[in-house]
């Protein structure tokens, strides 16, 4: 209990719709320790991103709340930096300037100009992007953009790093590279991380704990799986590891058996069938 860094307590959220409030999340409870890497996994539409946005302060919980180091948070701030799925770099600024914007905002009055420059370069070096300091986002590849996005978030020196499917839009090879980079950085800095993913391998490879969410509406936490694999982890060595494969199959079982999501191929037809079934 003393170790709890971030606590989600009875978090529920309703979205207003024309036919009354829609409960997207119902009573999500989660405690995260300092330096822990937690993945949120679940089918699309289950409210993973909503959980993250509530922690980030971009959404307000209807009930319950978030405690960070014992203090309630209800607005966005740089101590909960977000890495967005589609990088969200400002397209008119260079790599360096994108990170600089964050650094200037967070460390104004605390760091001298030189210290800021060193800090920006240090963070870009962490993600191996010092070769493209003066490139604009449209001049670098998708993986590089995401690296800069991570550098920007790290440069805010956040208490919690929030990652919203950070590698979801990347090809498999680039994704693997970035996962390795992320593990390296994590080993070095020991950040507290919440990452959303729908990739089972990614979740098992990177996390200390995997939080599996049930399907919406009124989604909540279904199961929590501890990943006790030793670090540093190597994706090739783990491929044949029995523990790894066991964990992997546990997540798969949850997703595809316990929480199987049946998406109708033709929604209209499916609705009609459902109505017929109800009538019968």
């Amino acid at each position: 209990m003393s170790n709890t860094h971030l606590e989600l307590s009875q978090v529920s959220i309703d979205f207003p719709t024309p036919s009354g409030p829609f409960r997207a999340l119902n009573k999500v409870n989660l405690k995260i320790d300092q330096g822990e890497f937690v993945s949120l996994i679940g089918h699309s539409g289950c409210g993973k991103s909503t959980v993250l946005n509530i922690v980030a302060g971009l959404h307000q919980a209807t009930e319950g709340g978030i405690l960070l180091d014992g203090r309630e948070v209800n607005e966005p701030g740089p101590e909960r930096a977000v890495v967005f799925q589609n990088h969200s770099l400002l397209p008119w600024l260079t790599t360096y300037q994108n990170v600089e914007l964050a650094v200037k905002q967070v460390f104004r009055g605390q760091k001298s100009r030189r210290e800021m420059r060193e800090w920006i370069e240090y963070n870009l070096d962490l993600v191996h992007m010092t070769h493209a300091l003066d490139k604009r986002p449209d001049e670098i590849s998708g993986g590089m953009k995401q690296r800069v996005g991570i550098a920007r978030a790290l440069a805010m020196q956040p208490k919690v790093l929030l990652m919203d499917e950070p590698f979801g839009a990347l090809d498999a090879l680039t994704r693997a590279h970035l996962q390795d980079s992320l593990m390296e950085i994590q080993a070095q800095l020991g950040n507290t991380v919440i990452m959303i993913t729908h990739d089972v391998d990614e979740a098992v490879l990177l996390s200390d704990r995997i939080v599996m969410m049930t399907n919406g509406p009124a989604a909540t936490i279904g199961e929590v799986l501890d990943v006790n694999l030793s670090r540093p982890r190597n994706r090739i060595a783990l491929a044949d590891d029995t523990d790894y494969n066991h964990l992997r199959s546990q997540v798969l079982t949850f997703l595809y058996e316990k929480q199987r999501k049946v998406e109708p191929i033709n929604p209209k037809k499916a609705n009609e069938q459902q109505k017929k079934a109800e009538v019968a």
């Binding site: 980030a56 740089p78 969200s88």
Partner: protein, 328 residues
């Protein structure tokens, strides 16, 4: 360095391949063909039209009127130079005879030539368009940032947007006459009336496009701004304005086009000594040269409008961060 070499290669005819030549030929042939056809139809068509001022001028007649206008301008400039020289000599003589003599320095009061009228028109349109921009961009940012302000203002914008300059002009004339009363006016009334009419008509595209640009800033970037806790001013300067710049320039280009069109009409009625007044005076004058001179004015008006649009495009290319944006 390699970029410079590449440019050198591109402009070195010795290295041009057949494709480059063919490309260039195609690029030049068709515009030339279009122009030739246009001049041909104009020449033949003009002969068929008989007006009360004689036959409609063809390309040759219009060209000779153009040279006339250039000559008139040169003569007027020469007269002006002579006038000032004479004045200088006269005053120098008088001062030499009596150092305490009161000498008067008069401004040359010649007829405005075609080219000084062009200058007046450009100055008026720039003043009106500048004023419109200074109003429209900040207003557009404020309207775009707040949905309720947008709801409040939008109906008003939609009603005023389609109003013709000819409808504004009498109102502007009366208001300027009533409000701008000065013994030593800095601006002539006709200038103010034309300028304000241009402003009133060219305001709207910039205003609307800025509003839309500000309103459609990507949600992701707004989230970034929130996470960074940017204050309002920084948020507008670092996120909103750069995002909206492409839309702003779309609006500015439309506005400048409208401003130039409106200006000619406004100058005709307000008697501001610019191109509009030139056309009107030639029309009233009704000499056998008038139609040709009006045709010259039409072509010059069109050409200047084109140059203004290109200048705006160049400015956009310079200011806009998105260098890949297609500009035409």
């Amino acid at each position: 360095m390699s970029a410079a070499l590449a440019t050198l290669n591109r402009i070195n005819p010795a290295r041009w391949t057949v494709t480059v030549w063919r490309d260039l030929a195609l690029k030049l042939t068709f515009p030339a063909l279009g122009l030739a056809l246009f001049l041909g139809f104009w020449h033949l068509g003009a002969q068929q039209i008989n007006t009360s001022l004689g036959t409609f001028p063809g390309p040759a007649e219009v060209y000779s009127q153009w040279t006339n206008l250039v000559d008139e301008h040169r003569q007027e400039k020469a007269r002006e130079a002579e006038f000032y020289q004479r004045q200088q000599e006269r005053n120098a003589q008088r001062l030499a005879a009596d150092p305490n003599a009161e000498v008067r320095w008069r401004d040359f009061n010649g007829r405005p030539t075609f080219f000084s009228q062009i200058r007046t028109s450009l100055w008026t349109v720039m003043a009106g368009f500048g004023l419109a921009t200074v109003i429209a961009i900040p207003a557009g940012i404020i309207i775009g940032l707040n949905q309720n302000v947008y709801r409040a203002v939008n109906p008003i914008i939609q009603v005023f947007k389609p109003v013709s300059p000819l409808a504004w002009l009498p109102l502007v004339t009366l208001v300027v006459s009533a409000v701008y009363v000065s013994d030593d006016p800095m601006f002539s009334r006709s200038f103010l009336v034309s300028m304000i009419t241009v402003t009133l008509c060219s305001l709207w595209p910039t205003l609307i496009n800025t509003t839309v640009g500000v309103n459609s800033v990507s949600k992701d970037l707004l989230n970034v701004s929130q996470v960074l806790r940017l204050n309002w001013f920084t948020h507008v300067r670092r996120i909103i304005i750069p995002s909206a710049i492409p839309m702003m320039f779309t609006g500015l280009r439309l506005s400048l086009g409208i401003a130039w069109m409106v200006l000619i009409a406004a100058e005709m009625l307000a008697q501001n000594p610019g191109l509009g007044k030139f056309v009107w005076d030639e029309f009233q004058n009704g000499s056998s040269d008038s139609l040709g001179r009006i045709c010259v004015a039409v072509l010059v008006i069109g050409f200047i409008g084109y140059l203004l649009d290109r200048a705006m495009l160049a400015l956009q290319g310079w200011v806009n961060w998105d260098k890949t944006a297609v500009m035409r």
